[in-house]
Structure formats: C-alpha cells, structure tokens
C-alpha cells in the first residue's frame, strides 16, 4: 500500500507540474476545450486513484471538481471567472494535500467544504474551525525515483565496459598472459556480468509489478458498484521496460474499471442471462513478435453499438447519416472519442466517458495500439499492444552475405536446415512456396528482400508475423543473444524492414528485422479468415505425428536433443552461477535456485535450458543450442533403460540421443508443493514459527501453524512433548532413552528424513 501511495504522490506531483501551464492558459481562455479536457482528466485520475487508496478527502475534492467540469463539458454550465477560481483552488488544494501526505503531516480540512460549495456555485461561507485533518500520515519514501535518462547513461556506460572487457580479454588471450592476469580478468568478467545484469534490471521490470495493484483495485471497484468480479492474471513474468510500465499503468487501470462498471452486469442480471454470478476479468500479458500484448477481457455485456450510436446522435456528436455509413467495427471505435460513455448513470467509478480516449492517447504516445474485440452480450476484449523497442529481447541472428541480422526469438517458430529432406520447395507461377510437413507457406529470401546477394539459403526460419507465418531463407544461423533494441534513425526505419538496431557484445552494430515489414515488403498477402480452421486442424494433426526437438551440444561436447515443448527458455546464467547445494549442482535463475542436470565441470561457462512442467523448474546445462528439428515420433530404444535417455533419433543421418524429460523431472524436480504439507505445533518461544518454519518452507512444504497436534490433518511436527502422531523434536542433543524416537531439533537431515517418511506414509507416522 505504501508503494501505491508513493506512486500516487509522485504521479500527481508530475502531472501537476505538467499541468501548471495548462491551468494558467485555461484561466485566460476558459472555453478552450483541449485545456478543459486536460484538467478534467487530471481530477478524474486523482479521483480514481483516491478511490482505491482510501483518501476520502482528496476523493471528495476531485469528485466535486469533476462534476463541475463535466457540466462545462456538457455545456450546461458557463465557465465564469468564479468557477475558474473555484477549480483552481481545488487543484491547488489537491497539490497541498499530496505534499502533506508525502511528509506525513496533517492539513486543516475546515476549508474543504467551502471549496466544494464554491464549485457548486454557492458563495463562499466563512470558514468554521473544525478538528484536525484525519488524512493518514505517511513515512518518507524508501525508494528513489530516477530519471530514465540517468538509467540510459548508466546502461550506456555499462555497454562500454563490456566492450572494453571483451577487447581486453581478446588481447590477453593473444598475448598469452600470465595465469594471475587471466585470473584477475576472470574476476573482472564476473563482476562486469553481474553489474550488467543489475543495471539491465534497473530498466526492466516484470509486468507483475504493474499487475499487483489490480486485484485490490478490482475488488474495491466491484464492491463499490455492488458487483462480484473474479480477476485472473496471467503472464506476470513478461518483462517490460520500466518506462513502458509507468506509461501503461493508468490506461490499464481505466480499462479494468470500465470493464467492471460498464461491462460486467449486476449479479442478478447475470443470473438471469445464465452467466456465472461472478463476472470474470482476465488480464494476460505476453510477448508476441515485436510487441508486448496486454489483453483485458471480460465476460460482460460487450459494447452495445446501437445504444452508443443513439447516444452520440442525441449529443450531436454524430449525424444519423454518418452512423448509417459506419461498419460495426467503426461504431465500436466510437468509444475512443472524447466525452463518450455508454453508462446510463454517472458513478463514483467512471461513466463520464473519460477513460478510453485517455487510454488511447497514453498508449499511442509510446507508439502502441489499443484494439477492441467485442461481441454484444458475450464480453469485450481490449488489447494494448506496445512496441518492443526499449525492451530487452531474446533474439537469434541470421547471416546473409556475411552480415548478421537479429530476429526476435518469439517471432521464430522453427529453424530448419535448407537441405532437410522434409522440405519441398515449389514454384507456383512467380511465387516460391515451401512445403514443410503438412504446411505450405510462402518462401522469402532474406537476401532478395534486402537487395543483397545471398549464398542460396543454408537455413530456413519459419517466422510468424502478425498476419501469418512464412519461411525466410538465409545463409546461416548465428548466435542466440539477449539484446537491447533501440529504435533506429528514421532514415533506416522508413525502409519498413527493420524493427530497430542493437549493439551486441561483439561491438558491431546489428539491425533487427521486422518480420511483418518483410512480409509486406515481399508482397505476401495473408487472409486470416480464408485460412479458417482447416489449416489449424492440419497443423494440429501434424503436430500429433511429429515432435519438435531442440538440438544442443552438451557440456561434454556430444550432440543431444530434448523435446521442445518443455523448454521454457535458454539462458546464460554466467560464470559462477552454478553451485553445489546438498551434493547436487544447482543454478540460480531469476533469483531462484533450480536443480541443474547435465553439468560436467561447474566452473565452465555454460548455457542452461530452462524446463518447466507447469509446477517445477529444472535446468539442464548445455554448451550451445544448435537447431530445432522435427523427428519421427518412434525412436530407437536406448541401450539401457532408466538412465535419462528416451531413445535414439536419426538426425541428418547421425544417431542423436533424445533426453527423457520425464526422467529428468522425476530425478531433479521438487515434488509439487501441493503434495507436501506439514503442520507445526506452535511453542511458547516462537522457535517453531521463527526458526523451523522458514527451513521447512524452503524445502518445498506448505506449512500451517497449529496450537495442538490434534488440529493437524497431515504430517505434524512438535517440539518437546511426546505426540501420538508425527515427528517429535527434542531440545537435547542425545536421546532420552532407548525408545526415544524423537529427533534432535538441530538435526536437519534427521528431521527431513522423518518428514519424508511421514509424507510417504500418508501423514500419520
């Protein structure tokens, strides 16, 4: 909550700074619609934030100002100087209150009523002295707000450092320097890598941080409106530039509030319609090609376009003639017009039509898009699409005529060797078509599109553009890297072929391909509707028959494969990330310790495959990812069962071991948390809760505290008494007698062994 209030204070302060010019200009020209809208948006945003931050004074003030301004927007009120003064007084008071909250002092609220009365048109009354203000005080900020420019400079310096490190390493290697120098260089490399991760992370944030405030906001908003809403959040670990997150915070909040207010029907109506009583709102983030998509979908009433059009005609914002010429999609788009609302009643929450126009303005300012997908009666999906630029993306480089180009990893469906026997190239008229398994798709030579000579297609990448998939031929495949993408100069972007530029570790600039742009440039035409379900069925049928395999070179230099479906990501954890914990190698990924298989020498520089089965994560060490290939589902049996090899596949004529991921998880994966429960009997000293609980939780148990062993319905651990069930811990190191089955409380291995046994016996020992 503190964070949210700090955010709110910083945001309000910034907007006020930005608004000060507008306010002055509006004072001079009160009929200026654009300025009026800007001030209106400000008070509306403040009101919205106050609603869920529980700041009733600010909420009342901003609500009053909003009412007044709305009346002016609707033309039912003339903005005379008296009114302007009243609005300015409230805006000033909002500023004062915000500062007061920040500094944790209280501000006399006796005058608030006067301000509200003034805006409602009444003459100011002499202030009465009332008790002290009851706004809650706040501690000073614990975080620091930095300008993004400073972060950019930090990032720039960091990249310089990496380039220097690389050059130094090259020279040291060439000169054959003494081992001490190499050791120092190694240390430098480790530090630089860690520092780079940290600096990179200062700019990147999991979108989780944006989503975390939503459940509370949704609950409060729904409660206020007497509705019941279930909020489902997915894709919280998509990473996004901090700046982007700030920019979409407000739009997202507006969209969700709108969904609850306008979309979700009241519970009674929902029951009548045969829908679940609880409205459902799904917020989902994902990286799609060169874009990050945030989808907010509800199962409410959708946009009632007819009602929307009628209302606009009533308000004189649309003529019946215009309306008649509009398509359904165009009618839906009307909700983005300023001053439009479909809500029947103005509520505390929304319904003033501000929102969707602000949403679109804010998202478009960062080069994004807002699109709608509505079905009357079935719900509305709002898709916010923001560009990848400024984000760090995982990319694979392809090479044409000696020059490397990056393609975002997410845009690549698969990469196959051009001489793969599964491929068929056809010429249909003037077009090149690639047939890969059951799919036919256009084939585009990257060299042809770019106008540079190509060696003739050594590899083919199947890429998915927004409109459809196609095959892109290049000479060879390069590295897999994490890249910071920046927008290129307009002269470069105007070619329509590039999504941006990047400076990889090699120090040679690289262009990032825009796969959609290349499709357009190559004249490919996709017709989504025409493709229909038939192709989907074909693809699905094909997928049943064949399996995608990621080929990699193991740490022992041997080529192996693993089923692609479980591979979450390929990561380079860097030097020193591998450690031996409890006799088994582990690697730290995203701040979590993950069991690591396939590692030889833990001091080697490795990459890891991150495998995820939906519950637990396991890493497999590799030297390098090589290719993604399709294999026949039938494998030759391995020479030996139970050693982690599923079978032998024939790839490019060579036998390749396919790893048994099932075995891998069985060996390495932690048992699902749900299966491991444990109750601790609280003791008077708090030892169980303070010392033991974190230890057991970190081992993957779900721990509950109980007052006595009888209250537990699973494995139970108690201290000092002789329980009839479960594990008893004793305070003395030596057992009390020959029959004492208790475990010394600092005997970790003994404790876990007893717990394991208990879990295996179904809870009661």
């Amino acid at each position: 909550m503190d964070d949210l209030i700090q955010e709110f204070i910083a945001e309000t302060r910034e907007t006020l700074d930005a608004l000060s010019g507008e306010i002055v200009a509006w004072e001079i020209e009160p009929n200026d619609r654009a300025r009026l809208d800007a001030i209106f948006r400000f008070v509306h945003t403040v009101k919205g934030s106050c609603g869920f931050l529980d700041l009733p004074r600010l909420a009342r003030l901003s609500h009053a100002a909003e009412d007044g301004l709305q009346a002016v927007r609707e033309g039912t009120r003339v903005p005379d100087s008296h009114f302007v003064d009243a609005v300015l007084a409230i805006v000033d008071r909002i500023g004062e209150l915000t500062e007061a909250i920040d500094q944790g002092r209280s501000l006399d609220d006796s005058d608030d009523e006067n301000l509200i009365r003034a805006i409602n048109g009444a003459a100011p009354v002499a202030a009465e002295v009332v008790g002290p203000a009851n706004d809650r005080g706040k501690l000073p900020a614990r975080s620091v707000r930095l300008g993004v420019e400073l972060l950019d400079r930090m990032m720039g310096g960091m990249s310089d450092l990496v380039l220097v490190r690389n050059e130094l390493a090259r020279r040291v290697r060439d000169a054959g320097a003494a081992p001490e120098i190499e050791a120092a260089l190694d240390r430098l490399s480790t530090t630089v890598a860690e520092l780079r991760d940290t600096v990179t992370r200062t700019r990147m944030q999991r979108i989780e941080s944006l989503f975390s405030a939503l459940p509370r906001m949704a609950r409060d908003t729904a409660a206020e409106l007497g509705k019941a809403v279930t909020l489902v959040i997915e894709g919280g670990d998509v990473e996004l530039d901090r700046e982007m997150i700030e920019m979409i915070r407000d739009p997202l909040a507006h969209i969700i509030r709108n969904a609850i207010d306008h979309g979700i029907e009241p519970p009674g109506e929902r029951t009548r319609l045969g829908k679940r009583e609880n409205g459902r709102i799904r917020v989902c983030a994902r990286q799609a090609g060169n874009q990050i998509e945030i989808i907010v979908s509800d199962d409410g009433r959708g946009i009632d376009t007819e009602r929307l059009v009628r209302k606009l005609i009533d308000q004189g914002m649309l003529t019946p003639g215009e309306a008649a010429r509009m398509t359904d999609a165009a009618k839906r788009e009307l909700i983005f017009r300023p001053g439009v609302s479909t809500a029947a009643a103005v509520t505390q929450v929304s319904g003033r039509g501000v929102g969707m126009d602000v949403v679109r303005a804010n998202v478009e300012r960062i080069g994004g898009l807002v699109t709608l997908d509505s079905e009357a009666g079935q719900g509305l999906s709002v898709v916010i699409c923001v560009p990848l630029t400024l984000s760090i993306i995982s990319a694979i480089s392809v090479c044409v005529n000696g020059q490397h180009f990056a393609i975002p990893r997410t845009a690549i469906e698969e990469i196959v060797a051009a001489d793969n026997p599964l491929l068929h190239r056809d010429r249909i008229g003037s077009a090149n078509v690639l047939r890969l398994r059951e799919r036919s798709m256009p084939l585009v030579g990257l060299g042809d599109v770019l106008g540079i000579p190509a060696a003739g297609g050594g590899i083919i990448a199947v890429v998915s553009a927004t409109e459809g998939s196609y095959a892109l031929a290049a000479d060879s495949i390069g590295d897999h890297e994490e890249l910071v993408i920046k927008p290129a100069a307009p002269l470069v972007m105007s070619t329509g072929l590039y999504a941006g530029e990047t400076l990889p570790d090699s120090g040679t600039p690289m262009l990032v391909l825009d796969v959609s742009g290349i499709a357009r440039n190559a004249g490919l035409r996709f017709d989504r509707a025409a493709r229909g379900d038939q192709e989907m069925e074909q693809i699905e049928a094909a997928e049943v028959d064949r399996r995608s395999i990621l080929l990699f070179r193991g740490t022992d230099g041997i080529r192996r494969g693993i089923g692609l479906s479980l591979v979450d990501r390929i990561e380079s954890p860097g030097h020193g990330a591998v450690s031996i914990v409890g006799g088994k190698p582990h690697v730290v990924l995203d701040g979590r310790v993950v069991p690591l298989a396939g590692v030889g020498d833990p001091n080697c520089e490795i990459s890891v495959l991150r495998l995820h089965d939906g519950i637990s994560t396991v890493a497999h060490a590799i030297d390098q990812a090589l290719d993604i290939v399709e294999i026949e589902p039938t494998l030759a049996p391995p020479p030996e069962r139970g050693v982690g090899i599923l079978g032998i596949a024939l790839i490019d004529g060579d036998p390749v071991e396919i790893l048994d991921s099932y075995w891998l998880f069985a060996q390495q994966g932690q048992a699902p948390l749900a299966d491991r429960r444990c109750a601790l009997v609280a003791d008077a000293d708090g030892w169980m809760a303070g010392m033991l609980r974190p230890l057991i939780e970190s081992a993957g148990y779900r721990v509950t505290m109980v007052a006595s062993p009888d209250q537990a319905d699973g494995p139970v651990v108690s201290l000092g008494e002789a329980p009839t069930v479960g594990v008893a811990l004793r305070r003395d190191a030596s057992p009390g007698g020959p029959d004492d089955r208790s475990v010394y409380r600092y005997d970790r291995d003994g404790l876990f062994a007893a717990l394991e046994q208990l879990s295996a016996n179904g809870g009661r020992g």
């Binding site: 990032m155 720039g156 310096g157 960091m158 990249s159 310089d160 380039l163 020059q403 599109v449 770019l450 106008g451 540079i452 920046k486 290129a488 100069a489 307009p490 002269l491 470069v492 105007s494 070619t495 072929l497 590039y498 530029e501 990047t502 400076l503 120090g507 040679t508 600039p509 690289m510 262009l511 440039n521």
Partner: protein, 151 residues
C-alpha cells in the same frame, strides 16, 4: 556577430558547419551496411556504446564521390546520432555569416542545405545545416535515384 564554425571538406569543396550543431569529430571503425536504405545512408557504426547512422555527406549533396577517410562529424538530429562522412577536417574558427551573393544559383541538393557564406581568408565558404544532409531523401531522388540507375 561572429560564431564558431567547423570547416570541413565535402565532395572536394570546403564547407562550414555551425560548431554548436556538432557533437564531436570522430574516426569511424567498421561500418555495417543497411540494406534497402536510401543511398546516402552508408550504414551503422558503433560509437562507444551507441549506434550511429553513417551518412555519406557527398552523396547527400548530390555528388557521386565516396568519402573513404572514415573521418566523420557527429551530430544529433531528432534524438538520433548521425555521423557525416567528410573528406577532411580543416579548422574551427569564429566567422560571421553573410547571405549568399545575389543571383547565385545552387543545385537543389546544395540549395537545401545552404545557410549562407563565410569569408575565410578571402575564400568564400558555404555554410550548411548538417540536419539538411540527413533528411535529404527527396533531394537524392530529384538528382539521381539509385533505383532508377539500377533499372
């Protein structure tokens, strides 16, 4: 009023740029080409940790000659860094700028970039706006488009 000007040579001719428009003067390393970009875009180069777009100033001014020195003037336009390849760098000195002499007619490419003349020891040197060299796509097409040559 006198201001500082950077005197360089582009397409064999002396040219002056207001030094306040110039970020730095560098020798570029390797240049990565940008396929399908306008002809005066040589490519991308790394300048410390940033990527600069390299512009062949001679081509932007309608000349055919390619500067091969790797010596470049770095300017910022619209938040992007550009390196303008030039033949050589001569001098930085204060001058006062005068309008073009009456009746002088320049090629469209030069005319678009021209901002006046300065007198350097009796030699008239054209003052150009570096930004005009970057956004010169229409001029290139009006003089000689690479695509029409290829066709």
């Amino acid at each position: 009023m006198e201001e500082l000007y950077l005197i360089t040579a582009i397409a064999g001719r002396a040219v002056a740029m207001p030094s306040e428009r110039v970020d730095s003067v560098v020798d570029l390393g390797s240049i990565v080409p940008v396929p399908a970009a306008p002809r005066h875009v040589c490519g991308l180069a790394a300048l410390r940790s940033r990527v600069v777009t390299v512009i062949d100033a001679a081509i932007a001014l309608g000349a055919t000659g390619q500067a091969e020195t790797g010596r470049a003037v770095v300017v910022t336009v619209g938040g992007h860094l550009y390196a303008l390849l030039v033949d050589r760098l001569d001098d930085v000195a204060p001058f006062s700028v005068a309008p073009l002499p009456d009746g002088v007619r320049l090629d469209p490419a030069w005319a678009r970039a021209a901002r006046g003349v300065i007198d350097r020891d009796g030699e008239a040197v054209l003052v150009i706006d570096p930004a005009a060299l970057i956004d010169s796509a229409p001029i290139v097409s009006s003089v000689e488009s690479p695509r029409t040559i290829a066709a």
